[in-house]
Amino acid sequence: MPVARTAIILGSVVLVAALAVGAGTALGAFHRVGPQFLVTTDVMPQDVRQQAADWWWIERPQKAKARLVRVHGGVKETVASADEIAGYDLDGESSAWTSRVAGHWSVQRRRGDRVETLWSGADRVGRPAFADASVIWAQTHEDSPPGAAPLPAIGPRTEVAMFADGAPIRRTGRLLEASGDIIGVRGGHAFVACSRAIGGPPSVVYDVSPVNGDARRLAAETDAVDAVLLSSGELVWTAPSRDSAQRGNVTCVRSIGSDGQVSTRSDWLPHGGRLNVSGDALYYSGGVGDGGAWSIGRNNQLPASIRPPQGFVVVGVGSKDMLLESLASSVTSMRLYTMPIR
């Protein structure tokens, strides 16, 4: 009897423990698929990216300096602060960004805790990109004030600059454009998105060889574009809709293949959003009046809607998770959450 009693007691303990573990696992799983609080911020994050366990974005408050922000473990760190931060790129433990302080532009890189200025001067610089051990950016020189030199040949000129440790900065390419953002670098080609300041936003995407400066126009759009380079090497960008009669209010996603042919990947997206990359998957978020995200297929398929939980809107899509804003937030104190992409 004492042995049987002991066995019953032990069995009960094991059963209760197993039930507790199971319940805990189920509860944990439930919590992981729901929004997890990340951090509070006072301004809407822009150019959101997720790298490993970190979130990065740019904050551009109206009456304060712009900030490049990194969030790690729920702690927000201001990596850089300037009058303007044009863009940034990440590569493992390194980050690089371009910024303007008191009319002076600079390109900076952080490795570990060490921040170094790679270049500074009066020329405007756009979004940079890492390319192996180099940092590449587009640099725009303007001799004349706006309107004074309306001819493209004597107007602003944009060059591609490349920094590599231990070597002088190398400048190649000469685009007759008023600004340039490096979309990415692949196979010795730098892809540059340019917009034209005077006369509206026609945007042109170039393929520039940082080696010899040869430039080739890949695509042109009548609106501002957001472009990304996928790990497959495919260049993708947003453009006014090809299907809708209201081209200005509806966005499509176009791409250029290795054969140089431009095609429409998807259409009928709300205007004003950004492309996000997760592995080889492509998402679109932040469209005007739209609180969701969209999965972008191929071959002119309709986009698939990804709706956030009730009470949340999608701020951006990272490599694994979505960044959400709670609608219960106030304008000056936005509560940001993350949840896995479904």
């Binding site: 004074a148 001819l151 007759l176 005077i198 126009r217």
Partner: protein, 406 residues
């Protein structure tokens, strides 16, 4: 009232109360409404005044109220698009299917074809009178003389056509003046960036932009060059096998447009806001409505960045990059021929129609058939536009202040 007067000497406070008790409620309401109306009228007048006169002399008022743009072009002028569309590209073909990228200048040949300096495409193109676009020469940026299929240009920004069909091009970023004759591209003047007058082979230019050919004396044609980097108008005498280059005019500002008509020369300097016509330097010209219906107070709206000029007989037309409009020089200033222009800022757009309803981007080149048609290099719209002027009327009398000839 009687009782109130009686009480006046006894107790003033009671008098006031009694008096107010005697005011008819309707009268009080009318007085209140009147006061509110007066306050509102004064406030409204101040608001209108503040909106009408903007800093810098601009004006936004007009027939439709303070926020309604004023249409200043001429209704009887028509504007259409001959070739190209907003989207930049480099395709040949008919009408809207053709693509340009930053067309900076146009010139007309004797057959009515429009020759185009397609700057960002580094090509010289031609648009037929029916609107079909073809490439004459150029491909990737570079410098190479030879057959048109192999020749290279770097950002050509000016073109002119001689009576014999020779095309002249200002090859801006090669700092050279090129010619295209009989399917062959040649360099007629220039070399490395710099300044030098003299024989064409040793002459130097710095970012030459616009060209205009003076054939008023057919035996001694002169090619006039807006040499923007040297801030000069240069003249290339095309007599004989060895052209000579000389300086025609030195400016404090950068010239980007030049035109010669019947021996008179005009230039546009957008950075300084100047139109140079002969010996006259015209700046901050007062802009008036093209139809002359007096919508703008004199001097309230002025030219900003004139950047291209063209003459027809006694008339000078110019484009203003600051307004996105085509204007005509008048004795007292300038009047809007086509394009919308309200002074609140450039009203850049892309719309055909009449002169009042049409919109342009930044116009950088103008050419004419010498009669009623003007051809426009609409640079930011990547299109070649055509403006048809109304049949000449009584107002087009010779100007006694005709600009001096050279």
């Amino acid at each position: 009232m009687k009782s109130a007067i009686k009480q006046d000497s006894v107790h003033p406070m009671r008098v006031r109360k009694a008096a107010s008790n005697n005011v008819h409620p309707g009268v009080a309401a009318a007085v209140i409404i009147l006061v509110i109306a007066i306050v509102q009228y004064v406030w409204w007048m101040k608001l209108v005044h503040k909106e009408m006169i903007r800093p810098g002399g601009g004006q936004s008022g007009g027939r439709g109220g303070p926020s309604t743009p004023v249409a200043l072009g001429i209704k009887s002028v028509s504007v259409d698009t001959l070739a190209g569309t907003l989207e930049p590209g480099d395709a040949d073909g008919p009408g809207y299917s053709a693509r340009f990228d930053g067309p900076s200048a146009v010139a007309l040949d004797s057959g009515g074809n429009v020759v185009v300096a397609d700057t960002r495409n580094h090509r010289i193109r031609v648009v037929s009178p029916t609107g079909r676009t073809a490439t004459i020469a150029g491909s990737t940026p570079g410098y190479r003389d030879g057959p048109t299929g192999q020749a290279l240009f770097d950002s050509p920004s000016g073109v002119a056509v001689g009576p014999d069909g020779t095309i002249y091009a200002a090859d801006t970023n090669n700092h050279r003046i090129r010619s295209i004759r009989g399917g062959v591209v040649s360099t007629i003047a220039g070399g490395e960036q710099g300044f030098n007058d003299g024989p064409a082979a040793t002459a130097r230019f710095d970012h030459p932009t616009a060209l205009s050919l003076n054939v008023s004396n057919p035996r001694s044609p002169v090619l006039v060059v807006a040499d923007s980097g040297n801030r000069r108008l240069r003249a290339i005498s095309l007599i004989g096998p060895n052209p000579m280059v000389s300086t025609l005019y030195q400016s404090a500002a950068v010239p980007t447009g030049v035109s010669v008509t019947a021996g008179a020369v005009a230039a546009a300097c957008p950075g300084a806001g100047e139109v140079v016509a002969g010996t006259r330097v015209l700046k901050n010209l007062s802009i008036q409505s093209g139809d002359g219906d007096g919508q703008i107070p004199n001097g309230a709206l002025t030219t900003k960045h004139p950047d291209a000029v063209c003459g027809i007989g006694q008339r000078w037309f110019f484009a203003d990059a600051g307004h996105g409009a085509l204007l005509e020089l008048t004795k007292d200033g300038a009047r809007v021929i086509a394009g919308n222009c309200n002074g609140a800022g450039p009203m850049l757009g892309f719309r055909d129609g009449n002169g009042e309803r049409s919109h342009f981007g930044v116009i950088t080149g103008i050419a004419t058939d010498g009669k009623r048609q003007l051809y426009i290099a609409d640079c930011t719209n990547n299109a070649i536009r055509r403006i048809t002027l109304p049949t000449p009327g009584a107002q087009e009398k010779p100007d006694p202040d005709r600009f001096s000839e050279f």
